[in-house]
């Protein structure tokens, strides 16, 4: 069997189940070393070398739409960037939580406001928390308002999505900054 990256004979075979689908990556000795296969562990292993074409639609989830936090940052520091990250990085989260906790479902205290409208004390929204721009609607528990967008912003957003899809994170960061500059105020609810 040939290596997925170069043409050499593959000797490292990595199988991982992502979103209930089995993905297999075949690598030769040198490519596996170059990709750091032997060092890395954790839930996003195959993520590191799946080419964009092999990725599922969920590759959009790699960056949190609300704060710009990336999956690789999460893997590195083991912490989330913002509350919305729990939605953005929900793939594989259950497995992670199962190892960490007694269960994966909260059974303790709930704010009195849950279900109804949460109190809105804060008049100013932080400028960096950009509303989500996804093909899927934002989840009900963590609503992120989607504002009406001027056309140039929509163009930037499309570019941002593409940059994320193609893993050009530096470009994505620049585009995100540009969007923030053009549209500094998050709409207050």
């Amino acid at each position: 069997m040939k290596c997925d990256v170069c043409e050499n004979e593959a000797s490292v075979f990595l199988t991982q189940i992502i979103n209930g689908q089995m993905t297999t990556v075949n690598l030769c000795e040198s490519c596996s070393k170059a990709k750091g296969v032997t060092e890395e562990t954790g839930f996003g292993l195959a993520e590191a070398f799946l080419t964009p074409s092999l990725r599922s639609v969920d590759s959009m989830e790699v960056v949190c739409n609300a704060c710009g936090f990336t999956a690789s940052q999460l893997k590195k520091i083991g912490r989330m960037g913002c509350p919305e990250c729990y939605h953005s990085f929900r793939e594989g989260l259950d497995g992670l939580l199962r190892n960490m906790h007694k269960g994966t479902r909260h059974v303790g205290k709930r704010p009195a406001s849950v279900g109804g409208n949460a109190p809105q004390l804060l008049p100013r929204q932080p400028t960096s928390v950009v509303r989500g721009e996804t093909s899927t609607p934002p989840p009900p528990p963590l609503p992120v308002p989607v504002p009406a967008q001027p056309s140039d912003v929509s163009k930037l957003r499309a570019d941002l999505d593409l940059a994320v899809k193609e893993e050009r994170y530096e470009d994505a960061a620049k585009l995100k900054a540009e969007i923030e500059r053009l549209q500094p105020k998050a709409p207050s609810k």
Partner: protein, 374 residues
Amino acid sequence: MMRFATLIKNPADWMKGAGPHSEIVMTSRVRLARNLRGFPFPGFSQERQRVDLLEQVRPVVEQLPEMRDGYSEDYTDLSKIRKQVLVERHLVSREHAARSSGCAVVVDRKQSISIMINEEDHFRIQGIRPGLNLHSAYELVDRVDTELESGLPFAFDPKLGYLTACPTNLGTGMRASVMLHLPALVLTEQINPVIKAVGKIGLAVRGLYGEGTEALGNLFQISNQHTLGEAEPEIIAQIEKVIEGVVRSEQNARAKLKEDHRTMLQDQVGRAYAILRYAHVLSSKEALNLLSMLRLGADLDLVGNCDRSLIDMMLLEIQPAHLQLNAARELSPDERDSMRAEITRARLQSINGPGSFPTSQSTPGGPPSAPNDE
């Protein structure tokens, strides 16, 4: 609001008061991690955002009924030594003290409740009680949390619970921890199996100042690691049950020491007293270990008129930042060691030595020995 000097001058409620099993359980603490919806966590936000958030939420925290006449300070106005004093008093975490701009702490008058703003999470609400009393510590923070949520939109997900920067705190966001003094289990070399057994149930055992610190002075912290999948009262009941078991083991070990190794015990306590009473140079580690022996002696009525709270107060006074605060300047490690000895010499003047053990039949001036020694 209260000034720093006033806060520190008064001993905290948990230092004066006694609670269940106070001879073994020093304190019970519960902390809740909470975050605001729509804001990045402090570790992934710009300084400007942290300052903004602080400016908006600090008045809300200060206006809590519990915080009336309390202490509130922005970290940019707080010296390194003062921050460290707060760490030594368990009012703020080491991690929080290392931060500056955009961070603040609000403490109630009795030093039973402290709220850290922009720690790893936007809010860390802590309650502290003397003895084994996690229930009461939880009631403190639960009430404060409920009051805060009526004015602040906390990040909460119906399935995942309270959303926290680190997934290890997800769900209840609650960490309940108990500080234990276990000298007899250490002396009788039974401490390792106890620690192992506690670890197996999914509880964490740590040293005096939390994660990665040494168990100096035979002080151990036991806390829950799981925060998701169980309700707060369940978690607390489980820890209390485990702690009661550990307390019984320590009590048995103490009884055994008194019964079978009386001479060794008296020797250890006597040496601890003598060094604390007459030394001129004491390292932090040595002083903590000696005070631990003296505390054990006091608990077993081997030290005459020694009040436990006097020893607990000394445990704080001899810590580096408290020494420097007292001296009103920065001290070199050597200066601290001599200042520390000065304090223990002075405090022990009012305590009769273990030589005056009531049932001792020793001749005056002779070495102390117990009647049923042989």
